[in-house]
Subunit: 198 residues, 4 copies
DNA sequence: CATGAATGAGACTTCATTCAT
DNA sequence: GATGAATGAAGTCTCATTCAT
């Protein structure tokens, strides 16, 4: 059973973080992981294949974590708080930077793009769950299409990362979370309507 | 006089649209424009230089158009309507796809990244102007930090494009504009407070 | 009558000094002289032709100067003194650096190489004249083949320049002139034999 | 194990001889050695790096040979004789032509220039050893600064090669060795002074 | 399983030179 | 006489990928 496979995956992730999509070459990955370039092709079909696996790997781990922390959150204020923490974790482990690089570099139509669509869909589902919980019983619920707003949330998150990554200005997400907290407070003040159990 | 410079700019833009950032090589641009690769280097220092110029070129043209159409809009419903039209234009001329590719491909720290920051700032300013007009007199104004939300809007727009570009699903922006229209209607129903002229 | 031709010649020389043989491109010369690249091809067949002319131009000027200063020198001490001054002049006007670059860059068999042979021959002749004057009547004269030693002197001068140029160590020629002066003193102490006028 | 590295080194040397510094391109080297251009970059960082290695390689081999042959020579006549043989060897193996090309082509300030300075220093040291042995006990010793004359000898050797290389006139070195032999004979006739052992 | 040398296509860029104006 | 835009060949170097060991 190959432990090396995991090393390759890790090396690819850290290479993405350190050198970007364009700098994630077979040689660079091999050097980052301390193995020979040929190893990559033993465990993966080609670089695209490796990147697909890397993406799946990091997303799965992070999504599990998100779900664990958000499972019983139903107030916006608390949600923002938790998301801020999770976001900081993302940043710390490099997940964010790597995924953003993959989004940036993947060519439409490639296998990597397909996997990306799949992961995007998963994150949208997660957002839908949270949104549904937050909106339960709120009068605003009738005006909001949950899937659409969930999709908007994912898009926003990705875009914010692209900008932050580019200018390295880490105060941007901070300000955004602050603003979100402010709006969350207003939101949480809106009373829930009585409903039959659903 | 240099009409060719403009042809190079156009070729770069269409190449970005057709082959993405990674596919925008000197050769591909030359082929797209029907000139020799050397021409690029006669008019521009670098591919980077060309891309910077291309970005500035398309952004300037589009920003002018946005400003013209949005100058006297002060209701959200109308704003969404106009933005939808402008967005369709963006899509038609390729502006959007090209800019998104550049965002995706630019390496942090590069000259291109710097220009991108600059353009981002400009779009944020435009968003700020619009937001300020929309919020004037609204009770929500006190809870909203205009610059932060403007920045969020730009981020969202960029992220939406990244996703749309990747999976080619043009129904996403349509759904989002619909949702935005719906929220705009609610928003426009909130009455403005009386204010002293200002 | 073309004054521009002279400007091209000067530009080529200063370009040789500033950027070396390899950096002496048509564009670089044009920029150095403040004219369009096309001008070069109006006055000269090609770059090789220009370099040939440049070499001839600077050598002629310097050779005239050497001959003027050395015409009536017949003692080694004085010769070394004068040569040191002329060498400093060479350095100041860039003659030396330019010629050295041409020697370095010229391909055997090229027209430039042919011109170089010709100029070398001229400098050897000048050296022969000086050597003959210095050796007149000396007992050493019988052991010395003037043309051979003259050729050695030119070779030495060229080699010294190559080394000096490479490491930028201007103390080397200084030390060599000092040593030469020391040997010249010894040489001048050897009495001349009586001879019939010759 | 890398036998190919050696082939690349040899190819570079022969390419230098055959096509000169300017003609020693990656492609030309690859063709000369019968391998793909990419191989060069597998074994060396750079063309510069390869040239540095080539220089070191040939110089080391030759210097060892010089030292072996000259170790116990203390008379000028014999020295000239040995040097003439060594020179013929240099010519035969291409060492001389290659090194001369490198001297000619190296840009001041480059890594190659630095290596060249180093090698120059080594040849000067060798010359110093020989000169010291020849001058031991001679009255002339007091007027001669060994390091300076050693440096002059190296410069002369280099310059002679530049000239010979350019016009392909192999009679020049022959004449010079003849002249040197003649002077050596005179020199060897000067008696050594008595000295305390040292 | 793993290695690392080798390949060859292709990227960017520079340059001498030409030519219409 | 002079200009400067354009060309196309050639140069350096990188990289995904293969393959013998």
């Amino acid at each position: 059973m190959s432990d090396t496979r995991g090393r390759v995956l890790d090396a690819a992730l850290s290479c993405l973080v350190a050198h970007g999509f364009g700098g994630t070459t077979a040689r660079a990955i091999a050097q980052a992981g301390g193995f020979a370039p040929g190893v990559i092709y033993y465990h993966f079909t080609d670089l695209d294949d490796l990147l697909v696996a890397t993406l799946a790997h990091t997303c799965e781990a992070r999504a599990k974590r998100y779900r664990a922390e958000l499972s019983d959150v139903d107030r916006a204020g608390r949600a923002v708080e938790v998301l801020r923490t999770l976001y900081d974790e993302d940043t710390a482990v490099g997940h964010i930077a790597a995924v953003q690089e993959i989004y940036a570099g993947a060519r439409p139509g490639s296998r990597l793009a397909a996997q990306l669509s799949l992961e995007t869909r998963r994150w949208e589902e997660l957002a839908e769950e949270l949104l549904t919980a937050l909106l339960r019983g709120k009068p605003l619920a009738s005006v909001v299409r949950v899937p659409v707003v969930a999709s908007a949330a994912v898009a926003f998150y990705l875009g914010m990362e692209t900008l932050t990554h580019l200018d390295g200005d880490r105060s941007r997400p901070a300000a955004l979370f602050d603003q979100a907290a402010r709006i969350a407070t207003v939101f949480d003040r809106i009373p829930r309507l009585r409903r039959r159990s659903s």
